[in-house]
Amino acid sequence: MAEVLVLVDHVDGAVRKTTTELLTLARRVGEPSAVLVGADASAAHDTLARFGAAKVYVVSSADVVDHLVAPTAEVLAQLVERTSPAAVLLPSNGESKEIAARLAIKTGSGLITDAVEVADDLTTTQSVFAGAYTVRARVTAGTPIITVKPNSVTPVEAPAAAEVVPFEPVLSQAALGARVTERRPRAKTGRPELTEAAIVVSGGRGTGGDFAAVEAFADALGAAVGASRAAVDAGWYPHANQVGQTGKTVSPQLYVASGISGAIQHRAGMQTSKTIVAVNKDEEAPIFELVDFGVVGDLFTVLPQATEAIEKSRG
């Protein structure tokens, strides 16, 4: 059965949910081989095995870790050469899309980014123009390289061997041009990660900088907290939490927009959420065109009231 290479998305060796989604998709197409760069397999092995990785190529070369994007692209190109896989699947974050981009040129392969679905014949589905269109596409040259958005598929366990295979790449001088001189890990908030969360509650200009009501409501729902561009530009919330065209794109089960007017750049980041709710003082706000449920009112009274009701119903 043909191998499918899956680039593992991890934080210090702990496998992220997106990887389990990629492995699930990979199994539709062939036998998944995880590619783990920048950590040993100790923390990752269990999850990779549970979700179907037949093999885990482990790359521990310091040069790969210490230089941006280019060496990982060479690693994958050399693995493609060695294993002739049916496809290469990667997550849709910035770094992985860049790796995929360089890999496409190195291997003469077509590249599809931000797929929300991958069929067993490698046909992909994408959502484009801020969710206005759905596109079905296919790679027609080389080894299909596909990056997949988070929350595209429910991960399914399918225990496999996850045989560890150390891999030493041969890196070119050109790949070592951009050196990482410092890493600053992001402080953990204790809330779910924005792109992976089932529920996202976002705050915008209407918060006036005070996210307390938004956060309390999010916590009552076990949700991630997002922010509009206006809120981030004003310095009220970190850019890492920005939902929108130049921030993160999310597609959770439930998206609650509080004090957010709903400009197109924001909508591009959340328009494909399954259920959309908004709270805004302005009944003309464009966000209300999208909602399954909306409250025209002050988020500083509506959200706390809802939070209290939810907490009470939990008893």
Partner: protein
Amino acid sequence: MNIVVCVKYVPDAQAERGFEESDLTTDRVGVDGRLSELDEYPVEEALKIVEAGEGQVTVLTMGPQGAADAVKKALQMGAHAGVHVCDEAIAGSDAVATSLVLARAIQKLGEAGPVDLVLTGMASTDGVMSVVPAMLAERLGLPQVTYASELTVDAAARSVQARRDGDAETLLVTAQLPALVSVTDQINEPRYPSFKGIMAAKKKPVSTWTLADLGVDPAQVGLAASWTTVEQVSARPPREQGQVVKDEGDGGLKLAEFLTAGKFV
């Protein structure tokens, strides 16, 4: 410092964008085009770098006739010269072909004098793939310092350092020039063209190049050359507005009810 900024002319994101029925390519004719918003940031950054020392900013684009507008806007902001690669055979090109053409154009610009820095934005607002900058770095053999939210250029040491904010961590990345740098919308506040800038732009040199000028075989670009194919495009039915209530002292309760009924609680 000789800087080339790559920019894209895109359908206005505020307008109703769509696709050509005949070949499923992006409709670039039926919708007003403009310089991609996200490309104002690298133009601004290039101008700041050159204003802090000395040098020249050349803006480069590949696109249909209308793309000359994107070059014009950048010249109005203060760029010194423009290059517009325009050729019928390019229509329908994918990212791979786009990077091929832009790379050749940058190499051709380099013949007139070494290019120190290639600057791009973080993504186009139509394709939103964010892959062309990395592809350019690959093709040109340049170090890639991408998604920079903060950038320091040391002209004397001929190095660049960038702050790159990822999902789980922030990185500081450094490289020697010549390099390829992409910048995010966090990096600066693009200037509005002044009246003086708008007038001055009219006299700035703009070259129009064809594929033949670049030595690019038309068979390598365009729709037929693409390594991917679009099989179907369908419009999503617009979301129908659900229930919207006015808060009359119970808005929060109604919200909680909705969430409970939807099993979100």
